[in-house]
Every structure is written in C-alpha cells, then in structure tokens.
C-alpha cells in the first residue's frame, strides 16, 4: 500500500480535532467574560422575560457551535452576532397570541415585559436599525469597533460610522423630545445648553 493512500485513508473527520491550529479557550471562560453583557444586551432590547430567553438561546447556540469557531480571537463579535439574530427572531415572533387570565391580571397590574427597557434605551430603539445595533453593541456589549464589524458583518469603518451617526442622531432626538426619564442623570447633562 502506498504511503499516499494511507494518508487519505487516515483522514476521517474527527469531531475532536478542529481544522484551525489556534486553541480554543474553555467555554467557561467565554461565559464568565461575556455572559453578563449578552444578558444585558438582550434585556435592554427586549425586556426581562424575552431578553432572558434571547440570552439563553444565544448562549446555547454558541455552546453548540463553539468547536466550529474558526477564529477564537473574534469570539466576542461572533457571540453578539448570534445574539443579534436571536433578538430579531424573537422580535419577529411578537405576534398577538391568546393571553391567559394570569397574564391579563399582570398587565392590569401594570407589569409588562418592557419594564426593563429603561432610561435612554427606548430612544435608542427608535434609531435606524444599523445605528441602533451598532450603538447597542458598543455600549451594552462593550465591544470594540472591530468586534462590532464582525457582529454586524460589515467593515470596521462602517461600524465606527454607524456608532457615530447613531450618537449624533440620538443627541438630536433627545434635544427635540425633552428630558430623558432617568433619575441617574439630570436632563441638562444630555441636553444642549
């Protein structure tokens, strides 16, 4: 038998060996490093319940596909691109469904799923989608422009521009709509003087 033949015979896809040579860090490390930000990102976009659901879907999908990740250095961008997709999926699924008696009571009591979309985030939610996503990735997820680019499948320059335009528009909107309903900060600090 020729050596070449042996080589080709000896190459069954081994699920334990990754094609890339760079080692993956234990998923536990990724979870502790980025998990809280993923949750924050999802809750700010969708409210407590659906936010936690999106966050869990994100982390489960990440864990499931972790060993296929080609570029471990870009793990944050990869993780938040999954979160981005899960949020869109859940937003799409926001169709009217029959609601239960308990849910009606909850709503009557003033409790809604949007309780945690607090402070300035309702304004952010009204930005054009690309700017909204870039601003959320920058400030909720605390990503670099390079990671935002990866999460949004765009260039670093475009990511930087989307954050910049988002902030600019946000300032304009805030100036037009009056004080920010946040006790953490006086309105005058955000409004032009």
């Amino acid at each position: 038998m020729s050596g070449e033949k042996q080589m080709s015979d000896r190459r069954p896809p081994n699920p334990r060996r990754r094609p890339s040579a760079s080692p993956l860090v234990p998923f536990e490390t990724i979870l502790e490093q980025h998990g809280p930000a993923v949750l924050r990102f999802c809750v700010a976009r969708l409210g407590s319940d659906r936010g936690e659901e999106a966050s869990q879907e994100t982390l489960i999908a990440a864990l499931r596909n972790y060993e296929q990740l080609r570029n471990p250095a870009a793990v944050a961008g990869w993780l938040f691109s999954i979160a981005q997709h899960k949020i869109i999926d859940l937003e799409r699924s926001r169709t009217p469904v029959p609601i239960s008696h308990e849910q009606i009571e909850q709503l009557a009591g003033g409790r809604e799923d949007t309780d945690r979309i607090e402070g300035i985030w309702p304004q952010v939610a009204r930005l054009p989608p690309k700017q909204r996503d870039a601003v959320a990735l920058r400030y909720l997820a605390d990503l670099s422009h390079a990671d935002i680019a990866r999460a949004m499948d765009t260039t670093e320059e475009a990511a930087r521009r989307n954050v910049f335009e988002g902030l600019k528009r946000l300032r304009k909107d805030l100036a037009a709509s009056g004080p920010v309903p946040s006790h953490e900060m006086t309105p005058s600090a955000v409004l032009p003087t």
Binding site: V43, M185, P192
Partner: protein, 208 residues
C-alpha cells in the same frame, strides 16, 4: 457645554442604563447550564471539592471522571489542556459523575471507602500509560508497590522509567492510587501533588 463633554456624558448614560445585577446573572446562568445539560451540550463539567489535602478540581465527561487536579496544580492550565484534548465545551457545573466522585472522595478521606467504584473516562491516557495505570489501580488499599512492580504488571518489566513517567502524569490521582507506588527499597519517590500529600494519603491508609 462643549460638544465633546456632552458626547461623553451621553456615552456614560448609555453604558450605565440597562444594568443587570450579579444575582440576575447567576439565575440566568443556572437556567442556561440546566438547558446545556438537558441538550447534551457539555463536553466537560467541572467543580472544586474541598478535602484534607486542599481543594481538588474534579473534571468529568458524560462517561465519567476524566481528570482530578490536585491542590498544587494550575487549575486554569488543566482546563486549557482539557479544552485541547477532550472538548472546549467546558462548564463549571455539577453532573452525576461529579456528585458521585464528591461522595466517594469524602468517604475515602473519612477512612470509610477502600475502593473507588465511580465511572472513569480514560480518554487522556493511551496504550502503555493506560496499562500502567490499570496495574496501579489493582494495588490494594493500604499496600504499596514499586515502579518496577507496576511496569511488570503492565507487561514490560524493563520499562521502569516509562512507568514512572506514566505515574507522574496520572490524570486521576487518588482514584488511581499512584501514591501507593514507591521506589524499590521503600523511598517515597515523586508525587504531582507534592511529597507531603503522598505521605498524607499513605498515612490515611496506614500504609506507612
């Protein structure tokens, strides 16, 4: 107010709102881990366990205990090694093999267990090294053997040095009792967890 100052304050506001607290994250983490278990996504689960030797780290696959890290070892390095050799889908969580290992280790250190019966995953050990560890696992509680003794039991009486190296790299210390292997003549030899730990284990078993 300058534009620059306003920009910074807006950024600060964006960062600070929508915060989540530690407790909330812990809760979300717990339900994520439970889901990861039920979806069968965990390659390696690990937990730390306190013993009279110090804190051990127990690492397990679904098949069984794959690695016990002794107090003197670098736990993070052990995890990185497992990520490369077993699976990077590693989570800090309990699992049935880990719970079983905790109980058996507690009983062992209480002097109430002489033979471990927990499931073991031998993934990290191959060929001759595995034969050496199998032979080591046969040394009865309270007795000792020599490096030559285990080499012989593993089928290669002359491979004393190789047997020594297999024991030095034993991924399952305590459970596979490499502490029961001494130099011919009775000198203690080596131990990954330090000689003091070796003496402590042998004294517990009243072997010395």
């Amino acid at each position: 107010m300058s534009n620059e100052k306003r920009a910074t304050q807006l950024e600060e506001l964006l960062r600070r709102s929508a915060s989540i607290d530690e407790e909330e994250w812990r809760g979300a983490r717990r339900s994520f881990t439970a889901r990861a278990h039920s979806d069968g996504l965990i390659g390696v689960a690990f937990e730390d366990h306190d013993t009279p030797l110090g804190t051990l780290r127990i690492n397990a696959t679904g098949a069984g205990i794959v690695r016990i890290a002794l107090p003197g070892e670098d736990f993070e390095e052990v995890l990185e090694d497992l990520a490369g050799k077993v699976s990077a889908r590693i989570l800090r969580t309990s699992s049935p093999p880990i719970t079983r290992a905790r109980h058996e280790l507690d009983d062992y250190f209480a002097g109430e267990l002489r033979t471990f019966t927990l499931p073991i995953d031998w993934t990290l050990v191959r060929a001759f090294r595995r034969r050496v560890l199998y032979a080591t696992a046969q040394i009865p509680y309270g007795e000792t053997s020599s490096y030559r003794g285990v080499a012989t039991a593993a089928g290669s009486p002359n491979a004393v040095r190789a047997a020594g190296s297999a024991l030095a790299r034993n991924p399952l210390p305590i459970i596979v009792p490499c502490h029961r292997v001494l130099r011919s003549g009775g000198a203690l030899g080596q131990y990954a967890g330090g000689l003091e730990a070796k003496v402590q284990l042998l004294s517990l078993e009243k072997a010395i």
